[in-house]
């Protein structure tokens, strides 16, 4: 053998408990941080109402931190009743004014312009998204921002073709839409909400989540630069109370909410007896069903994407693994080895696979579920990767030896935590998968096409992915069964949530 191989003398340190594979030593990747020099973050952000940035009427602001460092990066205005009212009035004025009577193709032109400008500023948006929310730059750069632009492109195309979307009917806009979005995909959820609403001729008042409002306000700057008429898009920041002001405002025609099932139920109660239309996209506890005839290595990859994408802060995350008994040990072993190769750390590092947990509150929630898991008798396995000392980080975690009745199996954890259960037959897998109040998404891995159709038809779930997971496209509708939501977003279905048909 050749004389100079520095590598040979290195003692290997197996990282895996059940094999000698060593993914840590010999060759490590040097830090590769994405530069943040090119982005400008102001010390303070105002509300965006009627095409202008305005101070909040009560003059109150709240701080926003970078969850990877816990440092304060900026502060956002707190919108109160008066501000929400101003925003709704501006939206109403714009709706009655030029926006709803604008030639449909001109509306499309604005949406195309927004889409192109998002692409032009994609680097800035992705860096900000990672700094404000903790998600790895690989995801904000390759998923969040491109998909957000894709949604605007897609719905821009519909703006002057609505008659073809609803043959034989005359679609009319609803009016003013109140939209409340979550912290897990801030810009992308904004796009999901605003693009179809505008394409159909509505105007919007949108509230981003209080921990992740930065990209929404950058988006407001973009809207201004794009010359979108004043009042068509209004962005008000704040926490739950601000959201409640939107939900309860009398001059809003439609509420679109994405967030927790708990808040979704509150909203539905508030809306009872009003004529507001609503769509709710809520929590989930997706099942990943792996049959013994599945392509195992690719199934493991699918499981990794299903649960560890965006730190597990995904409403459609596949957080319950159901694996057929014959391959349970093999899949678990491979999963553990694969988890050892995940890099947890600085969200701005291009090699990071799992970034920071979005907020201290969520960090505590996940940790409390890990304790519940231990109390319930689960076998806890965490990868041995190093994690930064500061900031909110949680190692990728498996909870094995759990039962259907356990809280960690029943409740949404919204973190990088996967429960593992086994099954024997397809019917048993379907029963277990459906045995939850949720029904947002699920995945099936098998080499046999007929089994995909059988299981897919049996799952009471808005989305079922086959031999893959977490694939999104603007053309595809998304939404939940049962307590996972009401209505669909995306695709043709997403349009019908923003029109009345005559």
């Amino acid at each position: 053998m050749s004389q100079t191989t520095e590598t040979k003398e290195t003692p290997y340190k197996p990282t895996s408990p059940n094999s000698k594979l060593d993914f840590a030593s010999v060759w490590e990747y040097a830090p590769a941080p994405e530069s943040s020099d090119h982005v400008e973050i102001k010390d303070q952000y105002q509300l965006f109402i009627d095409g202008k940035f305005v101070k909040p009427s009560k003059g109150r602001y709240f701080k926003s931190t970078n969850p990877a460092t816990t440092e304060v990066i900026t502060e956002f205005a707190e919108a109160t009743q008066n501000d929400v009212d101003k925003a709704v009035k501006a939206a109403r004025k714009a709706f009655k004014g030029e926006w709803s009577s604008l030639a449909p193709k001109t509306r499309g032109k604005y949406l195309y312009r927004i889409a192109r400008m998002l692409q032009e500023r994609s680097r800035e948006f992705s860096v900000l998204e990672s700094m404000d929310g903790g998600k790895p730059i690989r995801e904000s750069r390759d998923v969040d921002v491109p998909l957000a632009a894709a949604h605007f492109f897609y719905y821009a195309g519909w703006a002057d073709k609505l008659d073809y979307a609803f043959p034989g009917k005359t679609p009319e806009p609803l009016g003013v839409c109140g939209q409340i979005i979550p912290w897990n995909f801030p810009l992308l959820m904004l796009a999901w909400k605003i693009a179809p609403a505008l394409a159909c001729g509505n105007t919007v008042v949108l509230k981003p989540a209080e921990t992740t409002s930065l990209t929404a306000l950058k988006f407001a700057e973009l809207v201004k630069d794009a010359g979108v008429p004043a009042g068509v898009i209004n962005i008000v920041t704040g926490a739950g109370q601000t959201g409640a002001e939107i939900v309860n405002h009398k001059d809003i025609d439609k509420i679109a909410f994405t967030g927790s099932t708990g808040v979704g139920k509150l909203i539905q109660k508030s809306l009872a007896g009003t004529d507001k239309k609503f769509t709710l996209e809520l929590g989930g506890k997706g099942a990943l069903i792996v049959f013994e005839d599945a392509p195992i290595d690719q199934a493991v990859e699918g499981i990794i994407n299903a649960i560890f994408f965006n730190q597990g802060h995904v409403c459609c995350a596949g957080s319950r693994l159901l694996v057929q008994e014959g391959v349970a040990d093999l899949v678990t072993q491979k999963l553990k080895d694969r988890m050892e190769t995940l890099i947890v750390g600085d969200p701005l590092d291009k090699n990071t696979d799992i970034g920071a947990i979005n907020s201290s509150q969520q960090f505590e929630t996940i940790n409390s579920y890990l304790e519940i898991g231990v109390d319930e008798g689960a076998d806890v396995y965490q990868s041995k990767c190093s994690i930064p000392e500061n900031g909110y980080f949680i190692r990728p975690t498996l909870l094995a030896n759990v039962a259907q009745s356990n809280r960690v199996v029943q409740e949404e954890i919204f973190g990088p935590v996967l429960t593992v259960q086994t099954f024997r037959t397809a019917d048993e897998a379907i029963d277990k998968a459906n045995n939850t109040p949720f029904g947002l998404a699920g995945g099936v891995w098998t080499d046999k096409g007929s089994k995909i159709f059988k299981v897919g038809a049996g799952l009471r779930s808005g989305v079922v992915w086959a031999n893959t997971y977490n694939k999104f496209d603007p053309t595809s509708p998304f939404g939940g069964y049962k307590e996972s939501g009401v209505g669909r977003e995306g695709g043709l279905h997403g349009l019908s949530a923003y029109v009345k048909l005559k």
Binding site: T4, T5, T7, Y12, F23, Y29, D297, E301, N351
Partner: protein, 299 residues
Amino acid sequence: MSTTDFSVTTPIDHVAVEERVARLNKRSIKKDSKIQALKMALSMMDLTTLEGKDSEGKVIQLCQKAKLPYAPMPDLPTVAAVCVYPTMVRTAKDQVKGSGINVASVATAFPSGMAPLSVRIDDTKFAVDEGADEVDMVISRGAFLSGEYNQVFDEIAAIKEACGKAHLKVILETGELHTYENVRKASDLAMEAGGDFIKTSTGKISPAATQPVTLVMLEAIRDYYYKTGKMVGMKPAGGIRTAKQALQYLVLVKETLGAAWLNNEYFRFGASSLANDVLMQIVKQQTGQYQSADYFSVD
């Protein structure tokens, strides 16, 4: 020793394999880790000349390059081996004597393998007798695609026996196997029949080595290791021309099999023009500037 029924196919999902490769290609290799990887790549190279017009003079020059890849940096690692035709083994062996560099010889009626088994065995024995440390054989792709798995298995076992102490690399010629499932099956077969390495390609068929094919083979090696505890080596060959590609392959190895495979005992690159691009990148990393290609010897 084979108890595996090779008519049973291990399913491979090609979409997910290609996605996995795309994701691994996003690893950003910078600074120290880049220099380390470039040197590692150099030390893993099987510097190859396999042309009908090969002569002693050509092989001698290749061996000089193998021993001293870049004269201004004498401390760089040497390549792992030179890879030549059987008739050139003796010349190569004389040239690399004392350097620690191995001589690998293609054999078994390379590249087609279309000769009677007895001829292929004789070809192997000749190469070994001439001094080859490693033998790169080709499998019978025609027999494999006709479902004659036992025949292919027995042929590999026979060549392994003919190799004696020489290491056996089994070339699957994945460009002629067409599906990842065939690649997986041929990998399993080659490992169980006694191959010390599995290798993608002869370099004479397009496509030669690709990253998805290499990933499928690395995963086969991992499953074989899980099952038996034996470590089999991997050699992608053909079509790897740039340092960037080489680093991407190393990432595949690191994240599939881990550190124990990141050395030239278990991983090789079969390449003829890769060395100079790797050298150019090493010099760039150390000086901050790209040198003209004219500063790197063409051998």
